[in-house]
Symmetry: D2
Subunit: 366 residues, 4 copies
Amino acid sequence: MAGNSFGEAFRVTTFGESHGPAIGAIVDGVPPRVALSEADIQPFLDRRKPGQSRFTTQRREADQVRILSGVFEGMTTGAPIGLLIENEDPRSKDYGAIKDLFRPGHADYTYWRKYGIRDYRGGGRSSARETAMRVAAGAIARKVVASVSIRAALVQVGTNAIERARWDWEETERNPFWCPDAATVPHWVAFLDEVRRAGSSAGGIVEVVACGVPAGLGEPVFDRLDADLAKALMSIPAVKGVEIGAGFAAAAMPGSDHNDAMRMADGAVTFLSNNAGGVLGGISTGQDIVCRIAIKPTSSLAKPQQTVSVAGEDAEIVTKGRHDPCVAIRAVPVAEAMVALVLADHWLRQRGQCATAVREDRGFNK
Amino acid sequence: MAGNSFGEAFRVTTFGESHGPAIGAIVDGVPPRVALSEADIQPFLDRRKPGQSRFTTQRREADQVRILSGVFEGMTTGAPIGLLIENEDPRSKDYGAIKDLFRPGHADYTYWRKYGIRDYRGGGRSSARETAMRVAAGAIARKVVASVSIRAALVQVGTNAIERARWDWEETERNPFWCPDAATVPHWVAFLDEVRRAGSSAGGIVEVVACGVPAGLGEPVFDRLDADLAKALMSIPAVKGVEIGAGFAAAAMPGSDHNDAMRMADGAVTFLSNNAGGVLGGISTGQDIVCRIAIKPTSSLAKPQQTVSVAGEDAEIVTKGRHDPCVAIRAVPVAEAMVALVLADHWLRQRGQCATAVREDRGFNK
Amino acid sequence: MAGNSFGEAFRVTTFGESHGPAIGAIVDGVPPRVALSEADIQPFLDRRKPGQSRFTTQRREADQVRILSGVFEGMTTGAPIGLLIENEDPRSKDYGAIKDLFRPGHADYTYWRKYGIRDYRGGGRSSARETAMRVAAGAIARKVVASVSIRAALVQVGTNAIERARWDWEETERNPFWCPDAATVPHWVAFLDEVRRAGSSAGGIVEVVACGVPAGLGEPVFDRLDADLAKALMSIPAVKGVEIGAGFAAAAMPGSDHNDAMRMADGAVTFLSNNAGGVLGGISTGQDIVCRIAIKPTSSLAKPQQTVSVAGEDAEIVTKGRHDPCVAIRAVPVAEAMVALVLADHWLRQRGQCATAVREDRGFNK
Amino acid sequence: MAGNSFGEAFRVTTFGESHGPAIGAIVDGVPPRVALSEADIQPFLDRRKPGQSRFTTQRREADQVRILSGVFEGMTTGAPIGLLIENEDPRSKDYGAIKDLFRPGHADYTYWRKYGIRDYRGGGRSSARETAMRVAAGAIARKVVASVSIRAALVQVGTNAIERARWDWEETERNPFWCPDAATVPHWVAFLDEVRRAGSSAGGIVEVVACGVPAGLGEPVFDRLDADLAKALMSIPAVKGVEIGAGFAAAAMPGSDHNDAMRMADGAVTFLSNNAGGVLGGISTGQDIVCRIAIKPTSSLAKPQQTVSVAGEDAEIVTKGRHDPCVAIRAVPVAEAMVALVLADHWLRQRGQCATAVREDRGFNK
């Protein structure tokens, strides 16, 4: 009801503000006897961690996650998993200056209208800080759908798109942008340096691909797999659009080009194209699931902007805090995590929470 | 869990197959003492009804809705509202020919993989027939958010987009496409006639605008208003993309252009632009909510397509059934309805289900 | 949210008022390929049907149920199952006399306080008429947990309890009270005739037993199997108490007597007693699940009672409508149904909705 | 789905095992601008805390709660409230001896059957340790329904019931049993000392009373206020029965005695008795809500019991751990907390989550 939970069978509930003592989550519905430790989660948090290049915020956070429950002797027990990360570098003083001003493009004004109270410390609950817990939960979700590989890449920054013909997944690990096209990297470097000098910011487009999703995942009508993916991805801060498969381009295609023809090959159904993006009628086809999201440019700018104050007066605002010139970069691991959450949830909705345990033979009294 | 319900405080659950005896819905959470009758719902169903022009399926359905509960002496009672529409024109014979073939671009294959059973009668549950109940429930949702006006228009068919400068809401009621630009209509007529002759189909883009939404609607983190809108709209059959405000274009904008500047006017906060599309941080700003969805071309084609059979053999398929050459047309009233469902749900999540009743003074024992 | 749904994985949503045109339900989450037809449901509705003896209301209802969706060629498809029963014998005139009076012991006053509106026709939504849909849904739930047998009996009427030593399940089908003790039946006949003559009413105690429930069903902490059973049974109209196993008597037992000792027998765990009633820590043990519920005496009385009017004035009320002198009798099939709903829900939460379908081999493309 | 959450509008999710590093909870849906600090929660945790008399377990836990989010400058913000208590005194060694044995009357066997894994450390998730988080969340719930007073008392220990005529709420704070009848206390002292000497244990009955609940709270049909109370109370470890108002005694009462007559007094509706226990048709009447629960005797006994091992062999077990001879004592504050959770949830379902904030005037742009 209050919006801080995601999923039904694999259910994540998070808490925590940008400048509070800690952020945390409870992951409920994880099947028993899955090998799990902090070492399975930390690498994904490190991918999202700020301060890794001059293109992301310089805020310093170790983001060390602790598992507080649900794991015994290295295996999940089926009990809820409590996760905790202490905040290390709040720097509230950064925000005192804009204490009474609404930052344009931020949730400051809308939260204040909804709740009638203002936590001015870096946006409080509305800060992207909460996405760390999405990434931690996503790492656990990956263990539930272990046969699925979920990867994302940044395919456009500002007006500069990659050349898809040069796509190389390994390249995404070699540059600070998760860019799959080595030749595009220097252009983004130059572009973002210019953006920062201009006191402005840039947006981008992220593509997520899930390989190995079995056919038959998803629900009819409302809880379609693609509908839940759309919700999960649109819930990421700064996302303004979501598309699957051919996406918006599908509107301009004739049906004869868009339909993915089907053929048998080695006794298996195959598709001759994937304009569907791996989902038909809301249920997975067995092909790769391919989604793209549009991320708006960072709202916090070094250059002055027109705004109003809590007192209802016109004002100018300059945000001095540490911010990402292009939040799309750090959205990459978050987008992967949200897709993992959706797949784990639909997996368990279909397979059942404890299926692995209840089906297994424990030597007597079956 | 099984995907046939939408919403939490304003909750709609639907049932019914394309060729079963009837389709229906239960709308739970409607506040008491709202004036309601079939006459409030039927006009919206008539907008969606097939067979209204040569550009939509010729299937004949009166789509007469009956209210079976929840209304007493013309007013809602707070009890769940049961809705029923009898199916009149199933024509199952149309489908016998493709009984054992999977229609490319349809849910035939994925439903069969998920459920292990095949209801070949026009797609059964996966048919767009179920959207009639979304429209009926949406009409009730509009009564809950009576101060909000929700309208949609078709802004692109195939590659032909409207001229936004010529946008006229009244024009949408004068042509069979819900097109807001009179000058574009003849081009679409010619284009779709050509598409039909070619035995192909076309996609399109629908824009939905909600005016009068108060600031402060929506939840943080996961159940953001825009996230729920994305889910609601992506759940409409054939939708492949959803965007809000500037949408995908936001990725290419500098932050200084994208942020909507704020000023006071007559003691009220105003925004100098609406790139946000009426939502910041997942919560409404008080501006218009503006969404666009991409609809793929109709999957059923008169021209032969490659497919496979239930028995796992290659085959060719030609769908003779009555189909819309461009399903985007009939998606217009459905998109309006889904936005209404989301707004009514968040409205009640915030205001409370029975707020109107419990707050009112009934003369004693307050 | 609005209270008309039950269950998560096996989810039932009902609608309908005592004197509206029809009552209905949507059962969502039923696994595919379960053989189902009206003939599987009707016998259970007939057990609950009024007018079967002089000890139940004389209202005449055929209670013929129609399945409107979710079944194709005699098998469930995994789509939601729509159920409908037309009301035949409303007789609203019976209620005109008490149009403005609150019936003591009824929901008239509380509904009016909650909703601020009054549907005086036999209690509207609060009438026990809605329990017909619980019984219909319960019949479908039984098919989901086909290996479980769920039976109930009336074990006390007013102050007259049965002799447990004479318990005979077959006897419950031979008398109008579902009484398992033939020797007690004549006492109840005499007692209830006296009660009716006195213009009063009587309560009773119902016991429900579920045999064949596998060990391991239920969830920890909040959604315990016994907690959900308590909710399900307390939600039946007129129920004032629920107990499981030893129930309230457990409070007076020493732990050494109450604990059910465990021994191995033929390689299986067995218990030497069942004070737990088949549930430990909220999860099933594999023993019979045994619950008892206390039903208050019928609120509608032929003798005058003190009440107040909608206008806030003292008044006297005599209810002339057709009522059961002892609603506990007709609560028997309803109690069975509610236990079936809980077991089917926990079964699917554990096993997964589509487990049967997704696990099965369909010849290719596994 | 996985059972570790309670409530819809006021939603509590807990985690933590008896011998893990910590236990915690997330309370979501708390309205904004409610004054809250650890000092509002700690006193209720102290009431539940073990080791306060020789009649409760000697395990030493400070149970110091930390609020990690959702509160800013002493007021709730509407963001989820993260709660954490570090475990101080696990003493896992106590449990090594029974590592491979199922304790009769415990969840050891059922959890092992459900999850296929065994956390033998004091029952892990099934330990009553988790109830500390129910009490902490209940303290927050009390702030949401500030006008309601929720109190509980122990009214029976073993076979010794109090004398209701001597009921004195203040006395409950003066003895270690929360006993409202001073004259009964010495009998319980003698009885429990004898029970402990015998290596046995005792059960009891707890009564909870909520005063000041407004009329009109609760939902129809399934989510009745009494149904949710029954679930909440039955979910407390060791509870075997729940009743409301006259409870099981209602079965033996004639309707003319059981119905609570209604009269006007000072322009308000009043009832001449409260056999309903404050709920009619699942909705509150405005009278006190009165519930009773039966708690079974502690399962862990000093005297030997028959059991089986994980390996499927007969065995004898003697539990040496620190246990309450009568868990009913510590169930008193837990029962109060569960009633508070139910009332806060139904309060917000009706009034709306943010009602307080959205209704208030913030000077402009209403």
